[in-house]
């Protein structure tokens, strides 16, 4: 088992050799759970190696056996005996069915264990940091309700404290993934889902939407900063800056734009820097979820519920 894990580990590291060069850079952007920054991704990586190792029991015989059989029993120069009428062996049946069954029993037990352990709804510890995420077309709004801060495309976290991310979307279905910290979960309009995770070492990671949602899907990425508790305290003490996340700002953010375009719409400088805002109103996420629970007609307020049309862009400006 241990050897299998090591082989798998070597194979995986060899296969991401290309990204190894990136690790040398000053502040590498981690995009993969093969470079875990927290306990969830760490366990997911371990479980991946475990599964590969166990499954090798049933796969290696094929990878080795097929070339051997082809070589030994080739028509042109056969080596072994020829038993054309042989078509059944009770002993062999036991092995052919038995080994896969045993392997699946082992795998299934591990599956049960790791799925329970990594249930994204289970907090990793007491009093997790509450953050809310709202998926919009081609950007993410993060709200820190207790700190009164909101950001676009930036998720700052203190190392060592569990985080509970509550997700929804105000457009089509999306899926939020921060690979080096935790897995993904869908965000759906009118509903909330949760991701629980924690960072154990400081660093910068990339988060993204993985569910295709239109033209600029490829640019719906955000920056995750895992900071030391002191750095995080400084970050929160910095407050939300000049911009207030109110209905008007939100309506502009809700347009189908990427971060850089949204900055322009909001009259901000810079290209793709995250936006920071004050979030003083209570229950923004709840209001956005509730918009979708009305009958038939479109909801109003907080940008409504339909696809933001080009007209609304002009009227808002």
């Amino acid at each position: 088992m241990v050897e299998a894990k090591w082989i798998a580990r070597c194979f995986l590291f060899a296969s991401i050799a290309g990204s190894a060069s990136g690790l040398c850079a000053a502040e590498p952007m981690r995009e993969s759970f093969l470079q875990p920054m927290g306990p969830v991704a760490d366990e997911q990586f371990n479980h991946l190696l475990r599964v590969i190792g166990i499954t090798m029991v049933v796969i290696l015989p094929v990878l080795v056996g097929v070339p051997l059989i082809l070589w030994r029993y080739r028509y042109s120069a056969p080596l072994g005996e020829y038993t054309p009428r042989w078509e059944f062996s009770k002993k062999l049946e036991w092995v052919l069915w038995g080994v896969p069954v045993l392997v699946v029993v082992v795998l299934a037990s591990w599956l049960w264990y790791s799925t329970q352990k990594l249930d994204p709804y289970e907090p990793l510890g007491p009093e997790p940091l509450q953050v809310q995420a709202i998926g919009l077309d081609w950007k993410w709004v993060f709200i820190y309700p207790d700190e009164g801060i909101a950001t676009v495309n930036e998720l700052a976290l203190p190392v060592g404290r569990p985080v509970e991310l509550t997700l929804t979307t105000d457009t089509v279905m999306q899926s939020l993934l921060i690979s080096s910290l935790t897995g993904q979960i869908y965000a759906m309009p009118g509903m909330t889902t949760k991701l629980n995770f924690a960072a154990t070492r400081p660093g910068v990671a990339e988060g993204e939407n993985t569910q295709f949602n239109g033209t600029s899907f490829g640019r719906q990425k955000f920056t995750v900063r895992a900071m030391t508790p002191t750095d995080y305290a400084t970050w929160t003490a910095g407050g939300g800056g000049g911009l207030l996340l109110d209905e008007a700002t939100y309506t502009i953010l809700r347009r189908q734009t990427v971060l850089a375009e949204a900055r322009q719409d909001l009259g901000l400088e810079g290209t793709a820097q995250p936006i920071r805002m004050r979030a003083t109103e209570d229950g923004i996420l709840e209001r956005i979820v509730a918009k979708y629970h009305t009958s038939g007609r479109r909801a109003h307020g907080w940008g409504g519920t339909g696809r933001p049309s080009d007209n609304s862009v002009q009227t808002a400006e």
């Binding site: 009118g190 629970h293 009305t294 009958s295 038939g296």
Partner: protein
């Protein structure tokens, strides 16, 4: 497949194999089709159940406002009696009572089916008047799709009956027509079966 395996219920000429083999294959194929159709209804029933909650109704009109159980009972009566009336077709075919009896029974079935449709459409119109249109909520979409699809089936059944009447009038009760009548019977009773499900789960459950 062998001569001992005569197709039951139909009077297909001589006792010897060929026609019976063919009938067996054809009618079996139709049963398979019905099974597949049943699956469609099954998924729609499941969908209806999943939208039957406050979120699915989204504040739109609900079952208490929209359903008129008396009218549904009348529809049920029409449809089930229509099923019984098809017995006339089957018996008429088997014991060779002649075209007239078979056509008369078919007409009776069609009329009862039409009666069912009349009350169903009337209900749909009333419900739409109360705001119960399929565009109002997920639950109403599921309701209209499920009950509507059954209605479309009944309508197709009536079309099929008309086609069979035309065939009997033109071709007479030949073996092919008899086999088709047997399949139509399966279809017609299948609609009753679905309706029993609709009556219980679509109408009675939310009202209970």
């Amino acid at each position: 497949m062998s001569e001992t395996n005569l197709y039951p219920g139909l009077n297909l000429g001589s006792g010897h194999g060929e026609a019976h083999d063919q009938a067996e294959t054809t009618v079996f194929g139709f049963w398979v089709f019905v099974m597949s159709d049943l699956f469609i209804f099954g998924i729609l029933f499941a969908s209806y159940a999943s939208y039957l909650d406050p979120i699915g109704m989204a504040g739109g009109p609900g079952p208490q406002t929209l359903f008129d159980i008396k009218s549904v009972a009348i529809q049920t009566a029409f449809l089930l009696v229509g099923g019984v009336a098809y017995g006339g077709v089957s018996i008429g075919t088997k014991y060779e009572h002649g075209r007239t009896v078979v056509i008369a029974s078919l007409l009776l079935c069609a009329a009862l089916g039409a009666g069912f449709l009349f009350f169903e459409v009337k209900d749909f119109i009333t419900q739409a008047g109360k705001g119960g249109v399929p565009q109002a909520s997920g639950w109403l979409s599921a309701y209209w799709a499920l009950v509507g699809l059954h209605g479309v089936h009944v309508f197709s059944g009536i079309l099929w009956i008309s086609a069979m009447i035309a065939q009997i009038a033109v071709r007479g009760l030949d073996d092919v027509v008899k086999v088709r009548l047997s399949m139509l019977g399966v279809f017609w009773h299948f609609l009753d079966l679905i309706w029993v499900g609709i009556f219980s789960f679509v109408f009675l459950v939310p009202l209970a």
